[in-house]
């Protein structure tokens, strides 16, 4: 019954709260990880408003759950895992369209590259974008992607192979004709 606090008097700290992260520690973690997670969310959803919501929710959940004894790399993967699960929840509820155009001010002014990349990203499925982003932008291996997405490593290899082939197929014909 350690979950039930006495009504009167100070509320005792649970083990989790006793080892809880303070604001300074959280600030360092946020500075080190938020950019890459936000870029991942914008890259996968194509929507900054969704990425913003999901990023805030990701860190909220992390602070509320606060799993004990994790090193920096594990924490980073855990944050990606929360973000990925939140995205899937949204897609399951059909809250978001698969990939929407990011507003002009979200991209640099390299228009050729922009159009090319947009059409390729739009043609990929959300899971394909997730896997390709983690593999090629974050540089994660199969085991790390499995930890960050909740998939099995063997499934990651197959899904990544298909996604890679599809992405390459979307880009190669255009580039070859140029």
């Amino acid at each position: 019954m350690d979950e039930i606090f006495p009504i009167a008097g100070p509320v005792p700290l649970t083990d989790k709260e006793a080892t809880a992260m303070d604001e300074h520690e959280f600030r360092s973690l946020y500075d080190a990880t938020a950019r890459s997670i936000f870029a991942y969310l914008v890259g996968v959803t194509g929507r900054r408003d969704v990425a913003d919501d999901v990023l805030q929710e990701t860190y909220c959940r992390f602070l509320v759950r606060q799993p004990p004894s994790m090193n920096d790399e594990e924490t980073r993967r855990y944050l990606f895992r929360i973000a990925t699960n939140l995205l899937r929840d949204r897609w399951r509820r059909r809250d978001d369209e698969p990939w929407q155009d990011v507003p002009e001010d979200g991209f640099s002014i390299d228009m050729d590259a922009q159009i090319d990349v947009r059409s390729a990203m739009s043609a990929l499925k959300p899971r394909e974008r997730e896997l390709l982003w983690l593999a090629y932008v974050e540089g994660m291996g199969h085991a790390e992607i499995a930890a960050a997405t909740g998939l099995r490593a063997i499934s990651v290899r197959m899904l990544l192979f298909r996604a890679r082939r599809k992405a390459a197929g979307l880009l190669l014909p255009k580039r070859e004709t140029v």
């Binding site: 950019r35 890259g43 990023l55 990011v102 290899r157 890679r164 979307l170």
Partner: protein
């Protein structure tokens, strides 16, 4: 046969992420279908990543921190009021069962005869105690119900 994996793929991707391919890796990519596909796919993703400007749009760390603290307090409050919710449910069950029992008891017996035979002086202490207990439970349940309604009305605005 369709190859799904190449042991040099990670080297190719690593080079693309950090700079350009060496001559040796470039030659390998030309002869390896897996690595050629990996290079094209990586280029799509890396180009997307480089085109996005995320620095200006990151939510402020203080906002995220305050949000999480508010969520934590909400969860702690919910946890702390769990025994109250349990007691509330228990009191409602008690009141309903007591009312049912009293009604059934008076329905079956002749109410006036019962009152005439009832020796108030003998059972006075027991009756007063029972009446106080029932009254306290009814008042307590009514207060808890009123309180929970008030909290529910206030909840959306917080």
């Amino acid at each position: 046969m369709n190859r799904t994996w190449c042991e040099r793929e990670s080297d190719v991707v690593q080079c693309l992420r950090t700079g350009s391919l060496s001559h040796e890796l470039h030659d390998h990519v030309l002869s390896c279908v897996v690595c050629a596909e990996a290079r094209s796919a990586a280029q799509v993703m890396l180009q997307t990543a480089s085109l996005l400007r995320v620095e200006d749009d990151l939510p402020a760390v203080s906002v995220v921190w305050s949000l999480a603290q508010a969520r934590k307090r909400q969860i702690a409050l919910k946890r702390a009021t769990r025994p109250l919710i349990f007691m509330r449910a228990l009191s409602v069950v008690y009141v309903v069962f007591s009312a049912a029992w009293f009604l059934q008891y008076f329905w079956r017996s002749n109410f006036m005869e019962l009152l005439a035979d009832w020796n108030v002086f003998e059972d006075e202490a027991t009756c007063i105690a029972a009446a106080i207990a029932v009254l306290s439970i009814v008042i307590g349940a009514a207060y808890l119900l009123h309180d929970s309604r008030r909290s529910a009305e206030r909840a959306p605005s917080t």
